[in-house]
Structure formats: C-alpha cells, structure tokens
C-alpha cells in the first residue's frame, strides 16, 4: 500500500441541527478497497457525498492528492460515483450514457467509441450499445453505471450501496465482479454499505461507523476477530456480548465464573465487555465445561446448527456442527484466545445502539 490519496480532516456535518458527522478524520491510501460500513443514519453516505462534492462539510477539509478540494464543485473532481439507484440517463441509450463524461471533455469520436467498447467488455455487456436503460435488468443497469464511471479514468471510484437493489445471488456475483474490476483497473474504491458480509468479502480496509463516529478501522480479519467495542462486535456477525469484570491480566470473570484469556493491560477489577463468537464456543459434556447450562433452542442452518444455551442466567448463542437436542445438559468451553475483551464505551454517543436494517 502506498501513500495517502485522500485525507478527511475534522469533517463535521449536520442537517437541521442533527449532527451526522462529528469531527471525522480518515485517510484513504491509493489502490485501496475501503468500505464505509454502518447502520442507516451513521453518516457513511454523507461522507461519500462530501467526497463526491454533492455536500459540503460544515467544518474540516477534504485533501485529495495533496490538494484541498473542500470547495471544489463536483464536476471538477477527479472521482466518479456509482449511485445507489444507478441514476442512468433514461433519455439516452447505453452508448450515450457511457459517453456522457467523455463528450463533455471533448474527446475524439474514435477515442469515445474505443472507450465504450472497452468499458462494455470490462462489465461483460458487449453489444448493448443501442439498448435503452429501461430495457436492462437491475444488475445490468448497475454494471452500465460502473462502466459510465470508469471510462473517465477516475483515480477514485465512489460506490453508494450499489448492490442494495439486487437479489442475493446477483449480489454475490457482483461482489466478485467488483473485486475483479478493482484489480484490473488498479484504482481506489470507496464503497458504502450496511451489509457486513459485503464489507468482509470485498474490502482491504473496513471503516465501521455509527452515529457520525468512526468506531473502528481495520482489515476485515481485525474487525471480525478483534472488535474494539460492543457496537462493532454486534454489527459484524453474530456474537455473545457479555458484561464482565477483568480480574487481572489474562483472567476475566464472566457471569461469576473465571475464564482464562490472553488480553492484558485493562487494569484490575475493571468492568469490560467480552465478545465471544458463537462458532468459538465448544459444547462438551457438563463435567468438562467451564460453566454448565441447558440447550433451550435449536435451528438447523445448513452448514451448522444454531443453538441457544441457558447458562449462568445468560442465553449463549452457539454455532456447532454437532447437534445437542433441546433440554440436554451441556458444558461450555472457550479457548482463551477466542475471548475478546473490550473497553466499555466512555460516552453515550459511542454506545451500541439497536441495529436497524
């Protein structure tokens, strides 16, 4: 990864006295696939619109390639956007849609035609030049929107929930398509989504946002395995988040039972949040477990069983390929390495909120 291409400095934005972004700082490197992830209203789309030039921040600066572009109008910026509902020009055919940006830049006819061919090939829609946008399926329209953006050779492609309107199968196909495109084009992608699976699949870096704050920045593995707070843990994947006490380094008391862990430096007898992923819980015979409980629920999910185990007054979510029927007494065992300790949020603002989809 090379130098910083985009730098957001102290960006704040509010609508009607409602703070959407609060003193946000974020840098994005060249050739990175960055995903802004969070529930609706977390400020991710606003961040993208500020980058695209469709909104201006109340305070702060946007630095692009070393230059301050905070006040630069959208049409002068060297980035292109793929909009949520495609935003194709319905009064133009596909070729005219793709040529829109190039015609404005007064490129030659032969150059434009070559570019149209190249872009349609890149998105696997060769021969669609004369079709009208209305006659295309959602997935095809989205690919045209991408083609229309990339023919302008932007340094950065902004994507605003581009797969939101597609069905599951198509969405998965398009995820691979986007990764392939990013690698072929070698440009920076900034992707906005509320879908954690999309974020984990495609990104080099994930920026988890909530209520105008960045909650955590990291690789998909870091975000998933070492969430920094309960919000991130809850938003990314399923998890058991338990109010606990850190007794001392490498020992945590969860629901009155002491568990060995690997985290250090939280101090002694400090209230913390503990995250244990459901697939990291091992169900064993009662006498072999650290704590004992009883299976209360079971659902077959295909790859695994999803079970709920009532133990020490907490309903533990467990994913396992082994089946334990409802009513069975089981023991719960967790590898110390799989117990993730997190600081309690310091202020109300950082508090994990109910996730709305």
């Amino acid at each position: 990864m090379s130098n910083k291409l985009i730098n957001l400095e102290n960006i704040s934005k509010s609508y009607d006295n409602h703070l959407v972004l609060d003193e946000m700082n974020l840098y994005i490197r060249e050739n990175e696939f960055v995903t802004l992830l969070g529930p609706s209203g977390c400020g991710k789309t606003t961040t993208l619109r500020i980058l695209g030039g469709f909104e201006s921040p109340d305070t702060g600066r946007v630095i692009f390639d070393g230059k301050d572009i905070t006040k630069m109008p959208a049409y002068k910026r060297q980035l292109n956007t793929v909009f949520q509902k495609y935003a194709l020009f319905t009064h133009m055919n596909i070729a005219e849609n793709i040529a829109f940006g190039l015609k404005i830049k007064n490129k030659s006819k032969s150059y434009i035609n070559d570019k149209i061919k190249y872009a349609l090939k890149l998105v696997n829609l060769e021969g669609y030049e004369n079709r009208m946008p209305d006659s295309l399926s959602g997935g095809q329209q989205q690919r045209i929107a991408i083609a229309r953006a990339i023919v302008n050779e932007p340094k950065v492609l902004l994507l605003d929930e581009p797969l939101g309107a597609l069905d599951l199968k198509l969405r998965q196909d398009m995820q691979y398509e986007l990764i392939r495109l990013k690698n072929e084009l070698g440009i920076t992608f900034i992707y906005v989504t509320h879908d954690q699976e999309e974020a984990l699949t495609m990104s080099d870096t994930i920026v988890v946002m909530n209520q105008g704050y960045i909650q955590q920045i990291g690789t998909p593995e870091m975000i998933y395995n070492e969430p920094e707070n309960a919000f991130v843990a809850d938003f990314i994947g399923d998890s058991n988040i338990i109010d606990s006490i850190m007794i001392r380094d490498e020992l945590v008391e969860i629901l009155g039972t002491k568990f060995a862990c690997v985290d250090k430096g939280f101090g002694e007898n400090v209230h913390v949040d503990v995250v244990i992923r459901p697939e990291d819980i091992e169900l064993v015979a009662p006498e072999d477990g650290t704590i004992q409980g009883e299976v209360t629920h079971i659902i077959f999910k295909g790859v695994h069983y999803e079970m709920e185990v009532m133990a020490n007054g907490f309903e533990w979510l467990v994913h396992s390929t082994k089946m334990f029927p409802v009513g069975e007494k089981v023991g719960i065992k967790v590898d110390p390495f799989n117990i993730q300790i997190m600081n309690k949020p310091e202020s109300e603002d950082e508090e994990a909120v109910q996730i709305e989809e």
Binding site: Y75, F83, A87
Partner: protein, 273 residues
C-alpha cells in the same frame, strides 16, 4: 359479477360522451359538409381560403403562438424555482398560481378590460404619478396579454410536474461526470422535461387558438380571430354550415397538436390536469 358492476358504473360516462361529444361532433361534420339545401359540399371548408377567413386564422395562429412562447419562457424558470423549493413552501406558491383559476374565466377577463381601459384603473394611476398612459386595450397586445394571463398556469403545472419527477441523483450523476450547471441543464434537465413542455404547449396553444372571449373583450371586436369568425357565423349570421366548416379546419390544428403531444409524452408524464 364484479365485471358487470363496473360495466354499469361506466354507463353515465357513456351517456355523457355520446350526448355531449359524439352527437355534437357528428352534427359539426354534418353541417360542415352540407349546404343550406342539405346537399353535400366542401365549400364550407374551402372557404377558409377566403382572405377574410384566412387572415383571421393567421392572426389567431400568430397571437396564440406568441402567447405560447411567452408562457413557456415565463413558466420554465418559475417551474424550476418551484420544483427546487422545499416541500411545504412550494405548495403555497402553487396555490397562489392556481387560485385565480378557481374564479370564473369570463370575470377575470372582464376585470382586465376595466383595468386596461384608456380611462381604466391602471391609466388613472399612471396619470397620477405622471407616467405616459398605456394604450393597449383593443390592440393585439391586449389579446396576447389576456391569453398569457389566463393560460399561464396550464404551462407551469405540467412543467413543474415533470421537473419534480426528475431524480436529483441524475443531476448529481451529470455533475459527477464533469458537466457544469449549464451542461447539466442542457443535457439532462431539459431533455427530460420535454414531455411537460409539450403538454404545456398543447394546453396553452389550443385554448389560445380557439378563444373568442379574450379577443372579444380585450380586442374590442376590432381584431377577429378564427374563434370570433366561427362564433359570429353561429350567433350573428346563423350560418351553422359555414361555422361548422371552419370549426372542422380548426379541429385539424387541434388534432395535429394532440398527435405531437402524444408522440412526445408516451408515458403520460406531462399530464398534469
């Protein structure tokens, strides 16, 4: 069962259209294509070529064209301002424009007659502040003025309607692809609002072309539009045959306008009223 019920529901409409659309149309064609003895003739229609009739048609076409163009030039910026307003504010503004339409058309035109008269309200005020008197009553200017005043809302509303329906993201997409405000307007907003423009043009041009009340009241019966000629054939001269013949000619222009508007407005986007 259900189908039968709906069939009965459409009965009043059928009676209405037969009684007030189809039968009168047949009568117009019957009178237009016969002479006083009841025998078939084209002379009523071809009489449009008579200088006095042809001149009135030309004046009507010219004046309605001018008022349509001025209406369009006034309406488009207005519709753009309205469509960019926050909802709530624009409702009030639209009400202001629609409000006069609730008052009788004849009454409003009569009011303008009193206002524009040589010794009327406006000139009295002008004289009082030592401005030169306005001499537009009984001139084509007054007729154009009356047409614009009466038909402006019919231009504003369809254009406003299509402009509101344009996805703001399309404009953002154009800017994103490098188009400045002028290019965005010319390449996206304007082409996408064509259905509304066409619909507005038909809704202003046709009533302006066929009017006889405005030219009667504000033109002082000195300037005869084709509508006045037809009206006089029916009322003063009691020559229904000639009146119907000229009506058929006028109908031709209406049909042409309708065809144009249908071609441009395939999705019915522009139909505001």
């Amino acid at each position: 069962m259900k189908n039968k019920f709906f069939k009965w529901l459409s009965l009043p409409y059928i009676i209405w259209s037969v009684g007030f659309i189809i039968i009168p149309l047949i009568m117009v064609f019957y009178f237009g294509l016969t002479n006083k003895n009841g025998s078939f003739t084209f002379s009523n229609i071809t009489s449009i070529a008579l200088p006095v009739h042809f001149k009135s048609l030309l004046i009507a076409l010219l004046l309605s064209l001018i008022s349509t163009i001025i209406c369009l030039l006034l309406s488009y910026p207005l519709a753009m301002i309205l469509s960019n307003m926050k909802s709530g504010n624009n409702k009030l503004m639209i009400l202001v424009f629609v409000l006069p339409m609730w008052m009788n058309f004849l009454l409003r035109t009569l009011a303008w007659q009193t206002l524009l008269e040589n010794e009327g309200v406006i000139n009295t005020i002008f004289r009082f502040v030592h401005l030169p008197a306005l001499k537009i009553i009984n001139t084509p200017y007054a007729i154009v003025f009356g047409m614009i005043y009466n038909f402006l809302p019919f231009m504003v509303l369809p254009i406003y309607n299509v402009l509101c329906k344009i996805d703001k993201n399309l404009l953002n997409a154009a800017r994103d692809l490098g188009a400045n405000e002028v290019q965005t307007f010319l390449k996206v907003t304007l082409p996408l609002s064509v259905p509304g423009i066409i619909s507005g043009i038909t809704m202003v041009f046709i009533p302006a072309l066929t009017t006889f009340v405005i030219s009667d009241l504000l033109g002082g019966s000195k300037i005869l539009l084709i509508g006045n000629v037809i009206e006089q054939e029916f009322t003063l001269n009691s020559n229904w045959h000639l009146g119907s013949g000229l009506s058929i000619v006028l109908m031709l222009f209406i049909v042409i306008s309708m065809i144009i508007s249908v071609i441009f407005d395939k999705d019915g986007e522009g139909s505001a009223l």
